[in-house]
């Protein structure tokens, strides 16, 4: 079977079988950490700017898609302008079933819901840009993610003066 078709079939099976996902999570070599980093949140943190970060493979239609041919995945990231309309976004990611997210991007990246919270005054300011990765990154690509691209995004967020970030998986 061709790799994309096989990946999509597996993604559909995993999406519809939480038990299988649990079994997978217990067996595979997920990075196991014994401690966690910590930045204390200020009481007025909701004033923002607040950024979203996703690993659901979201990108602007005009941006290069994530590389689905490399079995180790793609550790690069895309900047998503926070003002981007949902219709300008698409998903390249064969390792989960994103048919529902294709219908409504807010299922994986709540970009419009965050705009709603700003409009109603629940939060202050939204970041000028959000960031997107694809999940399912392995081996040397994982090393690049941890050593290079994830810290690069963190540095960009510092430049933007981001005070809080919410992350969503695919």
């Amino acid at each position: 079977m061709l790799k994309p078709a096989k990946d999509k079939l597996l993604a559909s099976i995993f999406t519809n079988s939480p038990g299988l996902v649990n079994l997978w999570a217990k067996k595979v070599a997920i990075v196991t950490n014994t401690s966690t980093p910590w930045a204390t949140a200020a009481e007025d943190i909701l004033r923002g700017p607040i950024a979203l970060v996703t690993t659901a493979g979201v990108h602007l239609i005009g941006q290069p898609p994530f590389d689905m041919d490399d079995p180790e995945g793609d550790a690069s990231f895309r900047e998503i302008p926070s003002s981007a309309p949902a219709a300008a976004l698409t998903i390249t990611h064969n390792y989960y079933d994103h048919r529902d997210a294709d219908e409504d991007i807010n299922v994986v990246l709540p970009i419009e819901r965050l705009q709603d919270l700003e409009a109603e005054g629940f939060i202050g300011k939204i970041a000028r840009r959000h960031f997107s990765f694809m999940g399912h990154i392995l081996g040397s690509r994982l090393e690049r993610l941890v050593g290079e691209t994830a810290p690069a995004v963190a540095a960009e967020m510092r430049k933007d003066g981001i005070r809080a970030a919410l992350l969503t998986p695919g």
């Binding site: 709540p110 005070r163 919410l166």
Partner: protein, 82 residues
């Protein structure tokens, strides 16, 4: 996702993630996470369910502000599931 979250937190930006799997999250140990009961590909629930998406986003951001214990995983899967 948790590894990216940790990198952002290390840059002194407070973070929270939506988790779809307790086992993965407990291994990666992000600083703050809220566990939902949705299947893969649906961290914010059903398409066009604005009410639930908004509620979960508000809850996540409020927890981000209020959690004071590093590594806290809040289980909201009884309220956020299909």
């Amino acid at each position: 996702m948790g590894l990216i979250q940790r990198a952002i937190e290390e840059a002194e930006i407070p973070t929270i993630s939506i988790s779809l799997n307790r086992t993965v999250t407990e291994k990666v140990k992000p600083p703050r996470a809220v566990l939902v009961g949705y299947p893969l590909g649906h961290p914010m629930g059903r398409p066009f369910d604005k009410k639930t998406q908004t509620s979960l986003l508000k809850e996540g951001l409020t927890l981000l502000r209020d959690i004071r214990v590093p590594g806290t995983l809040v289980d909201a899967s009884d309220r956020y599931h299909f």
